[in-house]
């Protein structure tokens, strides 16, 4: 029989306001095996923990039940407390009477009754707890960063700086991500390329960093400290070791009609291409969808002009297997598809552009060489209308995204300001719902756009845009003036909502990292663990976790890197001791458990057993590798002879909880 101590926490008034804690501790004191029961204001405080420690020693407790907040919150705290008092940490059970009781019920009597039942269930479980010892597993001292945008680059640089090996996997031919397409950055208006390209070069030159560009993650196996990742290096049809990036092939290629995705289709590139001048790695890539040689074997110009003899039409995708201790997801974002927003005429007129397209039209390296020209007729626009919140803050579902995309207010202010600065003869209107500029020097920046640059900010949404006689008829409401406006604009710029990259969802499945309904990765705790995924060893960097601007992304990238460094600097990790354990006497070697194990943790051995009359029997029995087993329990249910059980969540323990609840 265990000697159990019960500790009921008030959590200030969080629990005590709806649960009669005194009644709970008194009722639980009557339970079999309970030798001590009390309540205290803050069990997780130092004094509360000291109380638990003292009582363990005073009463010689062999089991502890804490009725408090969710075990996801403080289970570890209380385990450590008990460990310090000499009690095995796995002899602690938490009854969740805050998140699953006091916070969801209003009636005090009802909540108190439920708290007592939850306490009873925990006591019933502790009765059957056994001390567990956590094993250790080694840590592979290498990190993988998925995504080579500014988030991935910064994370990789910071990890490499600490002396660990990092690989970056980027699906595009070059690293750099969205920031390479941006002209200027708010609120300082410094050139994006000037601050990004040195970092890209640093990545390429850092001996701790290896870049797998034009590659994708194909499969992920293993667990924290020991991930096994398969990377598909897509065929570029160019030998990257030979290519010098001279760019001669990209000038001679006869296939000139390929939409240039770097400029969002505003101009064309060749079938063999280098995305932009500062690409890293600076090597050419053949687009197999357009290359005549690859499609029908008729051409071969690039191979003829290449002085380095780097073209290889027979190149195949390559699969690389690598082991990592930690993985960082930095898959970033994309602007949403605007074609369904018919009211703004995005599909009807080329002069209605998205903000990212506008960014390219303003960029010196863009299709117009940095002069702002209308895509339709190449003329200077004189009236430009910016529409904010296109597809953001919608009701969800078909209409658009329910969240605020966060960056649009600032980049629209930037665009408006740059327009007025470069072309003072243009009229610039910004239609906004709310201007959200909470950031260092952000509101000042927006005010400057209004006060110094004379941008017209109008509260109200644009209702429709109709292309007519080379103009764009914009109909909108001015809510503050209470009138409807009709503006003949030359260009309309839509601040499109941003969404996570499409590759994030399948990646999350591979990583078993959870996602929210918008496909953003969820963090382990929204406030206290913002850069970790709930899955151990998976970290989050940048806009894949939620909309972010560049400074925030860089800050989060650094934070993710420091978490990775913290993990990689350990030689061993403590394993989860709640692993499966077969009873060899009952096991009949049927292989059912082996088939359902997702980790391959179960093997079979032939073992000698003593039979009747001094004979020995050779029997095939299951064995679990505790370093590999993650404790899901699939095998325990699959086992037909009932030989497999899960430590910490044994059949008897869960049944005892069921009994206590149904009593």
């Amino acid at each position: 029989m265990q000697k159990i101590g019960v500790f009921v926490c008030w959590c200030g008034s969080n629990i005590a306001a709806t649960v009669d804690v005194e009644a709970v501790s008194q009722a639980l004191a009557q339970e079999p095996g309970v030798v001590f029961s009390t309540n205290y204001q803050y069990m997780c405080s130092q004094t509360g923990q000291d109380l638990i420690r003292d009582k363990i020693k005073e009463y010689g407790l062999t089991g502890v039940v804490v009725c408090s907040c969710s075990p996801r919150m403080h289970e570890n705290t209380f385990r450590k407390t008990c460990e310090k008092a000499g009690l095995n940490p796995y002899m602690v059970e938490i009854a969740n009477i805050r998140e699953q009781c006091s916070w969801i019920h209003k009636d005090k009597a009802e909540a108190t009754e439920k708290a007592i039942i939850l306490g009873r269930a925990a006591i019933a479980k502790v009765q059957l707890n056994a001390p567990l010892q956590a094993g250790t597993s080694p840590v592979k001292k290498r990190a993988l960063v998925i995504g080579g945008g500014i988030a991935g680059i910064q994370t990789a640089l910071d990890i490499a700086d600490a002396g660990f090996q990092v690989d970056i996997v980027e699906k595009k031919p070059t690293i750099g991500g969205k920031m390479t397409q941006i002209d200027k950055t708010f609120p300082t208006l410094d050139c994006a390329a000037c601050i990004l390209t040195p970092k890209m070069v640093d990545c390429a030159q850092n001996e701790n960093i290896h870049i797998y560009a034009y590659s994708e993650v194909e499969a992920v196996k293993g667990f924290v400290g020991n991930f096994k990742v398969t990377i598909r290096k897509k065929a570029r049809f160019v030998d990257t070791t030979k290519c010098t990036g001279c760019g001669l092939c990209t000038e001679k290629c006869p296939q000139k009609k390929v939409p240039n995705e770097f400029n969002l289709g505003l101009d064309n590139r060749r079938a063999i291409y280098i995305p932009f001048a500062q690409a890293v790695p600076k090597v050419a890539t053949i687009d197999p969808d357009y290359c005549n040689m690859l499609k029908n074997g008729k051409c071969g110009v690039c191979a003829k002009v290449c002085g380095a003899n780097a073209i290889d039409y027979k190149q195949q995708d390559e699969l690389i297997e690598e082991e990592y201790g930690a993985i960082v997801a930095a898959t970033g974002f994309n602007p949403i598809d605007l074609s369904k927003f018919n009211e703004f005429g995005y599909s009807q007129s080329p002069d209605v552009v998205s903000s990212l397209e506008f960014e390219r039209l303003m960029n010196a390296a863009g299709p117009t060489g940095g002069t702002l020209l209308r895509p339709s007729d190449g003329k200077h626009p004189h009236t430009i209308v910016f529409v904010q919140c296109v597809g953001s803050r919608c009701d969800g579902g078909e209409k658009g995204k329910p969240y605020c995309s966060k960056i649009c207010c600032m980049y629209t202010a930037k665009h408006a300001m740059l327009c007025r600065e470069k072309y003072p003869d243009t009229d610039v209107y910004v239609f906004y719902i709310d201007v959200r500029t909470p950031g260092k020097n952000f509101d000042e920046f927006y005010r400057r756009a209004v006060e110094e640059y004379g941008v017209h900010y109008i509260k109200g949404m644009v209702g429709k845009v109709v292309p007519e006689n080379g103009k764009l008829k914009v109909q909108a409401s001015d809510l503050l003036d209470n009138r409807q406006l009709h503006i003949d604009a030359d260009m309309v710029v839509l601040a499109a909502a941003i969404e996570p990259d499409k590759s994030a969802r399948p990646l999350a499945t591979m990583l078993t990292a959870s996602m929210d309904t918008n496909d953003f990765f969820t963090e382990a705790h929204p406030k206290l663990r913002p850069v970790e995924s709930p899955t151990a060893g998976i970290f989050l960097s940048g806009a894949c976790q939620g909309p972010k601007d560049i400074p925030e992304t860089v800050a989060q990238a650094g934070a993710a890197a420091s978490k990775v460094i913290g993990l990689l600097s350990k030689d061993h990790l403590l394993c989860n001791p709640c692993t499966a354990q077969p009873d060899e006497m009952m096991c009949n070697g049927c292989s059912s458990c082996e088939k359902v194990c997702p980790y391959g943790a179960i093997t079979y051995i032939d073992k000698e057993f003593r039979g009747p009359n001094r004979t020995t029997l050779l029997r095939r029995v299951a064995q679990v590798n505790p370093a590999v087993c993650q404790g899901c329990g699939a095998c325990t249910v699959a086992c037909m002879s009932g030989a497999m059980d899960l430590k910490g969540f044994s059949n008897r323990q869960i049944m005892a909880e069921v009994d206590a609840i149904c009593k």
Binding site: E343, C389, R393, C394, D395, K399, G400, F431, I433, K459, G460, M461, V462, G463, K464, Q475, A476, S477, L479, N482, Q484
Partner: protein
């Protein structure tokens, strides 16, 4: 309670409105109206329904449903307006318009389209 009646008839929750004004930006009859679509929503929300019922403006809505189509928050102002019209009719002890009444209620300048769309909305 009038507000509950309006909510029950329209099935619209005006609290979902985020005051973007896209309804008023879309409205083709904006200049004819005493109260504009976005004002409708905020007036219903703040309970100023009698004022709306007294206004001739509720009959200038063409029921073209542009606001319903475009509202990012699915607030559906045209349904609110329709509900207010119904509330007026119910107050008069009736629950429907008789064909004879229609011409008197209508504005002379009102286009035929409005009548067509008034019929269309019963289809939805």
């Amino acid at each position: 309670m009038l507000m509950d009646t309006i909510a029950a008839i329209s099935g619209v929750n005006p609290r979902k409105c985020m005051r973007c004004g896209k309804c008023s930006g879309s409205c083709p009859a904006y200049d004819e109206m005493e109260y504009h679509p976005h004002q409708f929503v905020s007036m219903v929300e703040s309970g100023r329904i009698e004022e709306l019922m007294a206004s001739k403006g509720i009959y200038t809505c063409l029921s073209c449903f542009a606001c319903i189509e475009r509202c990012p928050r699915s607030v559906e102002p045209a349904r609110l307006i329709e509900a207010v019209r119904l509330a007026v009719i119910r107050q008069q002890g009736k629950n429907h318009l008789t064909p004879e009444q229609i011409p008197q209620l209508l504005d002379e300048d009102l286009p035929q389209q409005a009548i067509t769309s008034a019929f269309r909305k019963y289809k939805r």
